[in-house]
Structures are given as structure tokens and as C-alpha cells.
Point group: C2
Chain length 290, copies 2
Amino acid sequence: MDTHLRDLRYFVATAEELNFTRAAERLFVSQPALSKQIRQLEEGLRTRLFDRDRRAVELTAAGAALLPAAREVIRCWDEAQRAVGDAVAAEAASLRVGLSTSVGRGLLQRAREGYAVRRPNGRLQIRQIDWDDATAGLAEGRVDVALVWLPIPNQDAFATRVVATEPRCVVVREDHALAGRSEVAFAELLDEPFLALPAAAGPLRDYWLAIDHRDGRPVRVGATVSNADETFAAVEEGSGIVLIAAGNAAIYQRPGTVAIPVSGLTPSELALAWRADDHRGTVRDFVETL
Amino acid sequence: MDTHLRDLRYFVATAEELNFTRAAERLFVSQPALSKQIRQLEEGLRTRLFDRDRRAVELTAAGAALLPAAREVIRCWDEAQRAVGDAVAAEAASLRVGLSTSVGRGLLQRAREGYAVRRPNGRLQIRQIDWDDATAGLAEGRVDVALVWLPIPNQDAFATRVVATEPRCVVVREDHALAGRSEVAFAELLDEPFLALPAAAGPLRDYWLAIDHRDGRPVRVGATVSNADETFAAVEEGSGIVLIAAGNAAIYQRPGTVAIPVSGLTPSELALAWRADDHRGTVRDFVETL
DNA sequence: CGTGTCCATAGCCTTTGGTTATCACAGCCG
DNA sequence: CGGCTGTGATAACCAAAGGCTATGGACACG
């Protein structure tokens, strides 16, 4: 048998007052309503809780047993409500950060610390997002801010702040003809098969294929990859070569692959992005932290 | 904001299944009913508890915070119900014993021990009852068994078992003319003012005034007394003298008063009594104990 | 012997909790 | 592609719960 928590409060008030009329006043209900609820509680528990002796109301043994237990249930429920409230507050102060690759560069660590100062109750929740969404989850609303490589699709919808500008490298298998070189010109790569981002990545796919450095010559796509793991696996497999940012070359050093600086390309831009119509304080705090 | 404990069970079931349809089945309610109650819980807490993403249901941060807390509330309530159940069981095994005077004679101690063997969960609750009710609470249902002096009013309604038969004494003030005597004949007391029980005590009042040893001569009533304390206070005050059982003379030795054995009276009978229509095992156990 | 206090009951209305039927949407399979 | 299936939301409806006001009956008190 379950009961409404309100009825437990009714019971406790009545047990404290030992007077239905006064208890009803304290509870802001009519006396008959209180009587009825107490009776119902008694029926549910299959025992009387009060002896309504003529003139005096007093607790039965069962009522005396229930009183501390009921107080405990109420305390426990109040505690539960507090826990929910805390969780809501913490979430309101938290931000979901979208990433497509590891960022490195000490960025995340600094962001965490800086944000913790501004929002002591908040947390940064990091989400790895595949390249099917070049906005790293921003577009679908899965994150609040993201670290993305420019350009991104529908860029007008987002505000961006460039946080790093780096030359590009090419990653080749260690037995590739160029593997020993300390630098290559992009022109030397034009006939190589390239790994490509998914079509959904839009302009970002073109960017990492360096379409506008090819003078209209078609690109050979060796495979399509959706994240960093797939990319390096594909290079090792010999499916093709791939351009990456110099910073990422330092982070991702995989045995069996070699990264070589490439000349003749515009540098890549890593940017912090958020929805242009998102004016929440938490977002601004995060942006200012970086 | 308070909620029905049932709704917490609904929430827990849904959080465990992460599927409204299955949770509703487990709870033996329809799925719309479950949906509605969960929504109402969410409104009460002013936060969403589940993310009903298309295809998947999962807990929000608030929901995750509520889950253990809700389990705790439910556990706590189950505990409260158990406490009430225990109290009811204990009371069912307990007996209220009515007394009008101290009983002494080691009776109560033996009764307690014997009863504890038969009803380990039960207890004897002793109630002192004034002589306004010569049945020591039996008539009004305030006790289950009583130790009474015979005769009692409406004696057919009760079953009795005599536990002690004792000669009677008279209690006088220490400066009374008879105070030095080692025994007196009742005939010597006929002109003394007597303390009387309340009229409601009926035949018992007559008995302790020894009406049927007076050959129709009227009794002088010095005062009416309702319990042992009043009786001795009245004797000390000089309001009158009073007959008591020899056993009680031993128990109640008050400075300023003297008890003297009286000859020429029928002996008094202390009896265990219970309602004739009360066939409960607890009552029988108690009777057999004595 | 009124009068006031206090709990219970009765009659009525609104809200709540439940039902069935149906819709909208996603995924799956042929 | 089109129909089937599984899932949650919605609508319409009904019974029960929970509230109120008015009233009754028992008792204490002056």
C-alpha cells in the first residue's frame, strides 16, 4: 500500500497537535478534509493511528510507531528534491563541448580550469563527434560549444573565434616514396589517392582535400573516413594519404606512418564555435576563458 | 511539492526499463497512464527526468540524481510500514491489566514472567483505575483483564477466578480509641463514620461498608473516596474509618494510621476478571498464567 | 441548562488517475 | 519503395480521490 507524501505530512501535523482542528488550520485545509485523509491512511495501513477518545485525541501504539518513521520518509523526500535541484543547477552551469579530434595544445586543461573559476558548480562535458557533422555537434544541438576546423557548413549560423593557425602536413605510410623527406610541395601530391571526410562535411571535406590548390584537376579519393582512428588505420592500410594540421601530427604519432610538412598550402585554422543565437552566460564565460 | 509514493515507484520502474511500454506492463498500468504520471512528476519537480529522444529513452542529469534518492524514499516508506506492522502485532499480543489498588503479593511479577513465556512479543500494560468503576476498567473496555474485589456490578457479564481470600481489617487514625487493640469485633464499629466507595461501585460499595453485617441499621458515611491515596488521606484527616483486606493492610502502611484485624466479617475475595464474551487467546493465556 | 469546542458525517464539486482508441514517427524487412 | 512493428504522445471519457461548506452529536464549562 502506497500513500501520498502529503498524507504523511497531515499525519505528522496531527500527531504533533493532537487536535484535528488546529492541525487542519496549520495545514491550510478544512478539518473534515484532514479527518478524511487520516482515516484513509488508517485504512491503508489497516490500523487506527489515533484514539479519538471523547474529548481527547492521542496516538495509538501504531501511530507512535509511524510518527518517527513518517518524519524520516518526509526528510528523505526533501533530500531527494534537493538532490534533483542540485543536479538541475549543476547542469545549468555546465557546458557540452564538441570535439572531432583530440585538441591537445594544453587547451582543454586550461579551459577546464578557467571555466571552473567562473562557474564553480558547472562542469565541461567533452563529446567526441564524428566528421559526419563538421560542426562537431553544434548543428544538431548535441553540444553547446565546439572546437572545429574551419570552414564549417552554414558558417553564418555560428560565431567563431580562431584559436590556432597551423601549417598542414601530409601523413603517408612509412614505406611511401616520400617517407624520408623533410618537406614536400603540395604539387608533388596531386596524383596521390587522398582520404576524404564524409560528404556531409561539405566545405571542410574540400578544404582537407585542398581542392582549391588543384587548379580544377580532379582528386582521387582512396577512402572516406569519419574520425582520427579510421584515418590512421586507412593510411596504414595503404588506402591513401591525408592532410592534417601540424599540431595534430604531433599528437597523433602512429607507428607505421610518417607526417611530413607540406609547402604551398594555406594554413589550417582551429576555431572555437557556438551558435550565433546562443547568448547564454555559460557560453560567453567559456569563450572568454579561451 | 509533494508526490504520491506510487509515482516514485513508477519513476524507478521506468528508469530501470528505459522503456515506457515495458515499464507500464511491469506496473500493471497502461502506457498512457504511466506517461502522464511521469510527466506530472516532471512538472512537480520543474525539470525533465527523461530524454525521450526519438527511438531511445534515457535519464537526464536530474533523473539520474533522483533515481537513488527515490529508491531511498521507497525503502524508507517500506520500513515505516514494517514498523507500524510490528507495533500492531505487538499490541495484538499485549494485554491491558486493570488495577484499583496495588496488588502486591508478588502477583504482578509472576504474571509478567509467565505471560512473557507464552507471548514473547506481548507486554502487560498496567492501568490504575479509580473505584468509580468497580470492574477496574473492564466495563468501559479500557482494559482486557482486571484484578478486582468481589462483588462487582453486573457480575454475570464477566468471568472471574478468585486468586486470594483474606480476612478484613479496619484502618483507624493512630489516636483513635481502638488504636491499641490487636483485634476488634465488627459490632464495635457500627456507630463509627465509614469511608465509602462512589455510588457507581454498586454492590462493592455495600460490601466494604459491610451493610449485610449491620442488621439493617443505617451506616454513617464520613466521606466518599475514589482510590487508595484518597482513602488514607481521609483516615488521617479523621473523616472516618475504613475496612480493607488484610493483604492490603500490609502493603499500605501509612504513618498516622493503624490497621486492626476485624472479627465477625466474611473474608474478602480478590479475583481475576475478564469479559465473559472475550475469548481471545491472549486473555486465556493470562488467566492460565495466574 | 445554554454555550463553546471538537470530531464525524453528508452532499456537492473539481481534480486526478486510469482506461481505450488513435496518431506520428522511426526502423526494419521483403 | 511500401507495409509492418514497436514506441511514445494525445484525445476523449469515466471513476475515484480530495477538497469545501453545512450540520450533527458528545462533552466540558460557566
